[in-house]
Amino acid sequence: MMQFGIFSVGDVTMDPTTGRTPTENERIKAMVAIALKAEEVGLDVFAAGEHHNPPFVPSSPTTMLGYIAARTEKIVLSTSTTLITTNDPVKIAEDFSMLQHLADGRVDVMMGRGNTGPVYPWFGKDIRQGVELALENYNLLHRLWREDYVDWQGRFRTPLQGFQSTPRPLDDTPPFVWHGSIRTPEIAEQAAFYGDGFFANNIFWPKEHFMRLIGLYRQRFEHYGHGRAEQAIVGLGGQAFMRKNSQDAVAEFRPYFDNAPVYGHGPSLEDFMRQTPLTVGSPQEVIDRYAAMRDHFGDYQRQLFLMDHAGLPLKTVLEQIDILGEEVVPVLRRELAVNRPDSVPDAPTHAARVAAAVESETGVLGASAVEAAHV
C-alpha cells in the first residue's frame, strides 16, 4: 500500500561530539551501508540526492544506485532529487533507463530544481530560469521515454531530429516520476498536468504550508483528469531520532541538531520539532506523529525519512534504521492501512505500472506476466 524509506542528502559533516569528519570515501561507503540496511530491515525505498559542491558527495546518483542495485533484491532505488534544471534531459533519460534495466525495474526518480545558485552557471544555466528549465527539460524527458524517435526544439538545449534515447525504458514503461518541491506552485501544476507523483519535502517548514501546496496539486491532478483529488500520488519527507526513552533521544540528538547544516545555529530543537515533522523521542512518539500525517495531507503513497545527516556516525544511523524498520514502520503500515479507502492508489511500482499498461492495451489483466518476467 504505502512505501516507507530513507532519503539521503549525502553531506560530509563533522561529528560535533567527537570533532571527527569522515572522508568522502567513508561517507560514500556509509551511504551504501545505509541502503543495504534499509533493505535488510524491510524498508521499501532508498533515495540519494544529487549535488555538485562540497560538503556533499553524491554527484553521480545512477552510479551509486547501480552499485546498490547489484547488492540488493527488493528495495526501490530513487533520487532526492535529480536536477532537472542543470542536467541534460537526454542524459537523464538514458541514465535512468539503464538503471531500470540493471535493477529489474526497481527504479523511480524525483525531479528537483536545486537551490545552490552557482550550480546553474557551472552547467551553463541561469537560476532565474529555474522553473522554465524544469518545465522544458522535463517535457523533453517525458517524450524521450515514450516516443521512439523524437524531433524536438526548445530554448535551452540543442535541437534533436529523429533522436532515439537508448536503452529504451524497461518493458516500455518509463520510471515513475515524482516532482519534488518545497514551495513552488508551478511544480505542483507540472506534476498534476502529467499525472506524476508530487513529493513535498516538508522537513524544514510547518505543515500548514504543505497542506496548501499538496491541496493545490491534488485539485489540479483532478482537473487534468488523472483521477479524483484523493487519488493523486503524494510523497512526504520526515525526520526522526529515537531511543527507548525520549530524554535519551533528545540528549543524544541535540548536539547534532544544534550544529546541523541548514538549520543549525537557528531555531531551538523544541521549536523545530513543533513546527516541522522532526520527531526526537521514543519509537511510539514517532509512530504517533507519522500516523497522524494523513489527517493533514490525506492518504498518501510514500514516506521517506532523513536519517543520516548532521555528522551522525554510521553506527548510530544503522541503529536508527533498525528501530525504524523493526519497531516503527510495521506499526505505521498497519495503522495507515486502517480506513484507507480502496480508491486511494497504492504506491507506484514498476510491476504494477507494466500491468496497468498491458491492461489498458489489451483489456487483459497483465500482472502475472510481469511477475513471471521480473520476480
Binding site: 522553473v131 522554465e132 518545465l135 522544458e136 517535457n139 523533453l140 517524450r143 524531433d151 524536438w152 526544439q153 526548445g154 530554448r155 506552485p185 508551478e186 501544476e189 507540472q190 498534476a192 498536468f193 524544514f204 517548514w205 510547518p206 500548514e208 504550508h209 496548501r212 501546496l213 491541496g215 493545490l216 485539485q219 489540479r220 482537473h223 487534468y224 541548514v262 538549520y263 543549525g264 545555529h265 537557528g266 531555531p267 523545530f272 513546527q275
Partner: protein, 215 residues
C-alpha cells in the same frame, strides 16, 4: 469610499523608542490627512524588535515563522507604508535591513511609502536620502519626496529646528503620503498562489510551457 490600510514598521530598539515615537506622530498625521480628503483609514504598527529572532532565523536557516509571514502579508497588503529606522553608523539599522532583506522583491511595488529616521543629532539627516531611499527605489515602491528626520533635539523646545519644526515636517510628509494613498485605488488583495480556484492566467501548464516546451 473603502477604508485604507496603513502599515507602520519601526526599527527602534528601546521600549519606548524614539523611532516609535516618530512613527506614531507620522501615522496620526497621515490618518488626519486622509480624513481631510474624506478617506477612512486604519493603522497597524509593527515593532521589528519583536521579530528580530524570526528575521535572523529566516535569513540564516530559512526557518519560517508564521507570525513573520503574517506581518509581511500585512505589509504587502497595505495601501500605504510608513517606515522609521534609527540611523546607526551613517545608515539604517541592521534590524531595519533584515526586514528589507526578507521582503519579496515585488511586495512593495508602486506602494506609497513615507520614510522616517531618527538619530542623536541632525548631522545624520541626509541618511534618509542617501541610504534609505535607494532601498525603496530598488523595490519599486513610491516613496514620497519628503522624508522626516528627527534628531534628539527635535523632541525638546530648544535646540531643535526652530524655522521648520518637526511637526511642520511631519505634516508636510504626511500630506504627501495621504494624497498618494487617496489618489490610488485600494491595493488589490494578493492572489493566493496555492488557491486552486485562483489558479489560472499564465500559470497553467500550457501557459508555463508556452512555445518553449518544444514540439
Amino acid at each position: 469610499m473603502s477604508e485604507r490600510r496603513i502599515v507602520v514598521v519601526t526599527a527602534g530598539l528601546g521600549t519606548p523608542s524614539s523611532s516609535r515615537l516618530l512613527a506614531d506622530r507620522l501615522s496620526i498625521a497621515v490618518t488626519a490627512g486622509l480624513e481631510e480628503r474624506g478617506v477612512r483609514s486604519s493603522v497597524e504598527t509593527f515593532e521589528l524588535r519583536e521579530y528580530a529572532r524570526d528575521l535572523v532565523d529566516r535569513l540564516t536557516t530559512g526557518f519560517p515563522s508564521q507570525r513573520l509571514d503574517a506581518m509581511l502579508a500585512d505589509v504587502g497588503a497595505a495601501d500605504g507604508l510608513i517606515v522609521v529606522s534609527p540611523i546607526f553608523s551613517t545608515s539604517y539599522s541592521g534590524l531595519f535591513k533584515l526586514f528589507i532583506d526578507v521582503l519579496d522583491t515585488e511586495a512593495l511595488e508602486s506602494m506609497p511609502v513615507l520614510i522616517g529616521a531618527n538619530a542623536g543629532t541632525a548631522r545624520h539627516s541626509l541618511a534618509i536620502d542617501y541610504a534609505i531611499r535607494p532601498l525603496f527605489a530598488y523595490l519599486h515602491a513610491d516613496a514620497v519626496p519628503t522624508g522626516v528626520f528627527a534628531a534628539s533635539s527635535d523632541w525638546g523646545d530648544s535646540g531643535g529646528d526652530a524655522v521648520r519644526p518637526l511637526q511642520e515636517r511631519i505634516d508636510r510628509a504626511a500630506g504627501e503620503l495621504a494624497r498618494a494613498i487617496a489618489l490610488r485605488d485600494p491595493r488589490p488583495s494578493a492572489i493566493d498562489p496555492f488557491d486552486p480556484a485562483a489558479f489560472g492566467d499564465g500559470r497553467l501548464m500550457g501557459d508555463l510551457l508556452g512555445g518553449a516546451g518544444g514540439r
